[in-house]
Structures are given as C-alpha cells and as structure tokens.
Amino acid sequence: MVMADTRVVEILNLFKRFDELVVLDDISLNVNLGENLVVFGQSGSGKSVLLKCIIRLMKPDKGKIYINRNDVFKLSIKELNNIRKNIGFLFQGAALYDSMTVRENLSFPLKRHFPEMTIDQINGKIKTALENVSLEEAIDKMPSELSGGMKKRIGLARSIITDPALMLYDEPTTGLDPITSKEISELILTLQKKLNMTSIVVTHDLICAEIIADRAIFLRDSKIAFEGKIKDLTSSNDPFLKNFFSHELIKV
C-alpha cells in the first residue's frame, strides 16, 4: 500500500544571506497536513525571512520550497497567486490597510477573489470572521482607532476570511500583554481546529508555542538546532536552550 503524501510545505537546503550576514544556512524541513509547526529563535535569527521565502516575498540564494508539490520559485505570477489565495499570512504588525475601515479591510480580498459573491454573502463572511475573533463591534472602525491586540485580531480575521488551507503567522503575540497573548494563541488554535488548517508560527513566545505547537524547530546560527516536541525542547540539556527558555519557564 502506498502512503499518501501529506507534505503541505517542503523546504530543501535553503540558503539566504544579506551581504555578509548569513541568515538561513541549509535549512530543510517539512510541514504536514493539519500540523502546527512553531519556529523558535532569537530576534534576527532568520525566522521571518524563512516565512517570507515560503510565500515568495523574498527569494533565497539557494534551495527549493514546495507548497503542495509546486516549486514556489518556478511558478508564474498567475500560478503563484492561485496558490497564495489558499494561504493566509498574519504580519507582525497586522498590516491592516490604514485607509480602509475594518469592514473594507475584510471585504477587500473577498471582492477581489470571489467576484461572484453577493453583498449579503460578503457581509455574512465578515460577520462570521469578526465573531471568530470576538470583535463584531469594531466593524466600522478605522485601524488607527484599534489597540495593538485588536489589530492583531482583525489581521487574523482578514487572513482567515478566504478560508486558507495554510496559515503563516509572523510573531502573532509579540508586543502584547501575557493575557492578550494567551487569548490570541488560543484563538489561533481554535481557528486551526475549526477550519482544519496547516500552520507555521514564527515566535519566541513560549506560552504561545505551548498552546499551539504540534512540533517545534529552533533556529540558531542560521541552522536548525533542534526539531521535535515542545516538551523536549524546553527540557533539553543544551546550555543555550536552557538559558533561552529559563525566563519563560519561570513564568509558566
């Protein structure tokens, strides 16, 4: 019997450098269907670069990335966009469009990708997305009227409104207080279960990782220094990892 290939994202021997600074050095990893992978690492260790390479916002110097067996860097823009329609991306600063209200931010991808949708259907989708992030009252607000946590939630609502199969999160809880951070992490997990998504979460927040992660990797010196379960990562005898997680463990 042939086993079904469940790899959604496959990264092979990825290299990326900025001038003399090597940020990704021979990174290879797979993410399977329905899995939540957490990417740990210090600030500047190349976590966000990895995420941006996956969605082709950046081009690596070497290596290949496959999404559903499509070589991301060999696709035409049209083919790439067809794949991107099935991917959600939550940016570190939420990246809400300043000139649009929350409603317009959410309807923007829908109107573009589903021109056949009626106004009622679009409004229905917006309502559900806002209910999912518990921010129905913010519908007519401008992004400048929202707090950091609210922006993250709306950013999350915008990312999931097209029902993506793959979600990429860039530091979803950075800059938030521990309670909001926990709420956002639980929200991500709930949505992932509800919508059956595959996720890659870049973070250095252990609380967030413990809630979300099925598997974790740790980037150090541009390489994958650890790959496995979160428990094994936090109980590792490696002095660097011990030191990295000690502060977080005290909090937990």
């Binding site: 916002l57 790439l80 991107r84 809400l96 469009y97 000139s99 991808p109």
Partner: protein, 269 residues
C-alpha cells in the same frame, strides 16, 4: 520587477552619490516600463482611479485657485507700468494671457501639484511599505503595483490638465482685477483682447505638456514610496525626495517639450 537599490546612510562617498544617481534613473525607467506593461492589462481599476482623481482634485483645488489668482494679479501688476511706459497698455491683456497660457499656468500648477501630491503619494506608499501593507496585498494575491501605482499615475495624469485649464482661467481673471485697480477697462474689452491674442496653437501644446507633468508627479511619488526602506526616516525621505525629483523633472521636460512644440508649430516662435 527588480529595481536597483539606493544606498542610504549618513556618510556616503562621491562614488555612492554617482551610483545613486544612475540607480534612480534606471529605477525610474524600469518603473515607467512596468507602468505601461500593467496599465493596459485587465483588471482596470476604474473605481480606484476615479477615487484618486476626486481626492487629488479636492486636495489641490484650494491651493491652485489661490496660486492661479495671484500669478495673474502679480503678472499684470508688474507689467502694467512697463507697458504704460512704452505706450502699449492695450497689449496688456494679451501679454498676461499669453504668458499664463503658454508657460506660467502649466509650469506653476505642475510645481504646486508636485509639492502637494507627489509628496503625499511618496509618504502614503512609503508608510504602506514600511508597515508591510504592500506585502500584505501581495501575499493576498492582489497586484500592489496595479492597485496602488497604476491607479495613482493615471489619476495624476488625467487631473493635472484639468487643474491647469482652471488655473489659467483664474489667472486671467486675476490679471483683469489688477488692471482695473489702476485704469478703467471694460470686462468686454479685456475678454475680447484675451480671446484675440490666444490661438489654438498656444493652448494645445501648453495643456498637452501637463499630461506629461502629471505623469511625472504620479510616477516619481509612487516610485519613491514603493521603494521606501528604513522605517519612518525612510518615509520622510521618500516624501521630500519625491517633491525635489518631480519638480526637477518637470522643469527639464518643460524645456524639452517647449523645444518640441516650437519644432512642431513653428508659428509659435
């Protein structure tokens, strides 16, 4: 579209400045070619173009009205004593209107427009770039160049000629007011003198070149905003350099276009 990177920093060498000069020229050329490649491909963002035209019109209406009125007024006030000294007061309406139509109206409107609009586009797209809004658009499979740049460049190209015609009209009115302060002249006489002295050949090349000026304002602002890097400092830089570069290009292209129009319509000389 791959654009050459500009070198930023507090201590740039002469070689860096020379590199930046050529990088900007080649970047603008690539940006320009990309505009023509994408402007004719569907989807045509007609609603966005209309929205930007509305905004730009409203934003600049006040300032160009005042500017236009003052240009006409000052030009007539300055020229009146000289014309009187040479006994050529009758030619004053013609002189004011010809100066305003052929050069002052189009160029000053374009420079005011560059100051108001190019900096605005540079700052707006620049802040969208540094806050990852342009990346967000790209990962949502929406073409940010088409949605943000093409629409703005079309809007500036279309709206500047309209504003210029309006400024010319206001400046001619301003000229009349300056004249009647010191000497009596009927509006009917002023109007017929103006109409007699302006030919179609004066008007068409003057307005035609404002399409080019409008295009420059939109393209330079968008290029500077789209290629912003370096956080809020970069946004400020994009805004300022947009105005400087677009004003400079407007004056250079004015020189070139005047030469071309004199070559095409030798009677203008």
């Amino acid at each position: 579209m791959k654009l050459p990177r500009i070198i930023y920093g507090r201590r740039l060498s002469y070689a860096d400045y020379i590199y930046n000069f050529f990088a900007t020229i080649s970047g603008l050329t690539i940006f320009n070619l990309e505009f023509f490649k994408q402007a004719f491909m569907p989807p045509y963002e007609v609603r966005e173009v209309k929205k930007h035209m509305d905004e730009l019109g409203v934003k600049t209406f006040g300032i160009v009205s005042v500017t236009g009125f003052i240009i006409g007024l000052v030009l007539a006030m300055q020229s009146q004593p000289v014309m009187q000294r040479f006994g050529a007061s009758d030619f004053l309406p013609g002189m004011v209107s010809l100066s305003v139509v052929r050069e002052l109206g189009p160029v000053i409107t374009a420079l005011i427009f560059a100051g108001r609009v190019s900096s605005g586009i540079g700052a707006e797209l620049g802040s969208m770039r540094v806050t990852e809004q342009i990346d967000a658009m790209e990962v949502s499979a929406i073409n940010p160049f088409k949605y943000l740049v093409v629409t703005r460049v079309i809007a500036t190209t279309m709206i500047l000629p309209v504003l210029t015609i309006y400024v010319i009209f206001i400046a001619i009115i301003g000229g009349y007011l300056a004249i009647i302060i010191t000497e009596p002249m009927s509006f009917e006489y002023y109007r017929s003198s103006v109409i007699q002295s302006i030919e179609f050949g004066d008007f068409i090349p003057a307005v035609a070149k404002t399409f080019v000026f409008g295009y420059i304002v939109g393209l330079v602002g968008s290029y500077k905003g789209f290629t912003t890097e370096g956080g809020t400092e970069g946004v400020g830089r994009a805004s300022t350099t947009s105005v400087v570069l677009s004003s400079l290009l407007i004056l250079i292209f004015d020189m070139i276009l005047v030469k071309i129009s004199l070559w095409l319509w030798p009677t203008l000389g």
